[in-house]
Symmetry: C3
């Protein structure tokens, strides 16, 4: 079983995955040592064609906490046979011969990870392929909502920041359609608004959404605020970053007590550090959930 796209999961499979994540997380926090025996001696290869330290370390620690050995390459693009013109299919078929129990691949080009998966029986996990998929990010985002609200339906979810270019907000919007009665609010400047393909996807799946440029109105009664990083170089000419929305203490005051604030990280200054101690700020827990979701995914494919 390969993990190539968040789309590959049915609602039932997502619920099973999140239930398994709950169970692994709780076991880890109460008795780590038992987990260490779970996949003792199994071998994970992390093959990164472009750097993503956070994602790599998250997978590596997830594996190590379950007793696996981790063999890593940080910059396969420069270092590997790829520089000599080897296809990723050949690379995958060679690595398969080393009998790893799973391979995590990060690639700079869309579709390459799926190509690797197509030729090998070793479970492949896509850790991001260019502008393509990054399923474990979407899954950890969705899991964090489940983890906080103990449900994944009937939620008001505000998406903010750079909705036009940001892969994570787009993926989360799609994943929200797996569950019933969610309502999405796009809260950003017009120049960074969510693209039509996602809106059409939501239309087709019966998920309601609105564009609400006013932060106060957007945040009212929200269950989830999902904020994303703005890159200066992606702002339209004439738009200064200070003209976009930032989450500060005042913005937090618009939110209900039960809301959560998420961010895929790294953040720069679109969420001020003054917010970090607010119990609704869940972006660091979200990173931790990433590790637990990856443990659950590894556990699933290693069975």
């Amino acid at each position: 079983m390969h993990i190539l796209s968040a789309d590959q999961f049915t609602k039932k499979q997502l619920e099973e995955l999140f239930t398994l994540t709950d169970s692994i997380k709780s076991q880890f926090l109460t008795d780590k040592n038992k987990l260490l025996k779970k996949h003792e001696g199994k071998v994970l290869i992390t093959l990164f064609y472009e750097p993503s330290t956070r994602t790599r370390l998250s997978f590596a620690t997830a594996a190590a906490h379950m007793g696996m050995s981790v063999i890593s390459t940080e910059n396969a693009r420069e270092f590997s046979s790829a520089a000599k013109g080897e296809t990723i299919e050949d690379t995958a078929r060679v690595l398969e011969q080393y009998y790893p129990d799973a391979i995590v691949i990060r690639h700079h080009e869309t579709g390459e990870v799926a190509r690797a998966a197509a030729v090998t029986k070793v479970p492949i996990i896509n850790a991001g392929d260019g502008k393509g998929e990054h399923p474990t990010q979407s899954l950890l985002d969705m899991y964090t909502i489940w983890d906080s609200h103990k449900k994944h339906s009937g939620l008001k979810v505000v998406l903010g920041g750079d909705l036009l270019h940001g892969r994570t907000a787009r993926s989360l919007a799609k994943l929200l359609t797996c569950f019933d009665g969610n309502h999405i609010v796009f809260n950003t400047i017009p120049e960074l608004q969510m693209a039509d393909d996602i809106k059409e996807y939501l239309d087709g799946r019966g998920v309601t959404y609105e564009e609400e440029p006013d932060m106060k109105r957007a945040f009212q009664n929200a269950d989830v605020v999902y904020w994303t990083r703005l890159q200066k170089e992606r702002l339209p000419a004439g738009v200064h970053i200070d003209q976009t929305y930032k989450i500060d203490k005042k913005a937090m005051s618009y939110l209900p007590e039960t809301a959560i604030v998420m961010h895929p990280l790294p953040r720069v200054d679109e969420i001020l550090t003054e917010v970090d101690d607010d119990p609704r700020a869940k972006y660091f827990d979200q990173a931790g959930n990433g590790m637990f979701v990856r443990m659950a995914l590894l556990d699933t494919i290693l069975k």
Copy 2:
């Protein structure tokens, strides 16, 4: 005991190594868990002064499958004390103080690995030193022949591709002289023909050989075809890569059913992918044998 050159092995030692590889491979494929206890807790350092992801991962997984911890550096040349003018002897003497159980070294300069080995009691394995030796490659090549034919003598072995520059074909030719009655056929264009030093070496050891530019005649009754990568930049002016030999389905039809086709990989297009599913295509198994031979070598030096 250091592993510095394929030349250091007698015929008897090679046979012992291959028998041990057979045994480890069979044990791994039937009961991995036993092997995991074999060298549990021992520490392997892989010190790579130039990148070679394939070789590094092969050693690292070999070690991990026997329960070892692997400590790696991917680019010692740029990162290490070498940049500050430290000799490899000093580096080896420092690493020795960290009590690793073995050190695998890849270096961009010939002779450096042997210099490291000369000053330390920690077993050193040469994973390639510039234009010098790459003993584990030669050994895995020879093992693959043994593994497929259950013998290493009396074989007709065709060497093709870039015989002039390719280290692997040169090394295999030398290693074939350890056994009786092998006959070598050089099948390439005149500009990439095997150099005289190897021919003289074969003469001195009583191994017969011929140059046969015709692929069909070369492949007739062959037991082994060992093909190597052509690099455009090494072709003589005026020679196009399409004028050299490629192995396609037609070429395969010249070969006996019992022949095997090997390649050290990565390949570009000197063997077409249409050949991959042919049972005689052994280049991926060959990569896997590399891991098993490395397990056997580690097992030998750790005793």
Copy 3:
């Protein structure tokens, strides 16, 4: 408990650390396997924002010898979220969520490691922060003196080489003030003499010192010679490296039989290799002591 600076240790704590190092070293050299169970399954992250292969491998092997898993990044500066403008506080808070048992950080900027430590409960070890601290180096230097002389007081310690720029000699001078009756001799050319801030520090702590440009007189009755690397580019204009002091066999003849010669390594030619076999040459043992001191530090913070 974080390890941020050698200054954080009292005399009593240093003695406890060195006693623990003695005990771990002796246990390792007699029965490695017991140590392997000590921190089995715990996870160490080594986060290096600049390369320092020696230090990284020393920590990694220290951890591996006690059964820990090591997750590494060799060049976090280039690879990590830092490139996207993430603060080290955010990075530390994210890594904390992966539940490592300790994090070793090397950073190119002074103070960054302490900033990371300020926001996390995971034990942080400073493996060097720019021109700031490198506590494990100072501790291993001091431990090597203790290990050889079975005392740390009443010693005549010669510091030589580049005392002006060298961080290690400066730190050792400071650490020597923790113990009674040590006398320091600065033996170098005027242009590379120890800076006034350290002399004032020694004055304030009642440690005596002198500048003695003559090597023979400096070495007379010395207990310890601590030599450091000269970098050509740091020599003043007009001063050639051969006009500085080198330790050769003749220089060794000035030293008592009981003296020891130390160097933080890498050395270039300020200590000739002809000295390496002299039993007083302790620079390689010193590197090994580095690993044992790091084992003791890890053991201390993991309790």
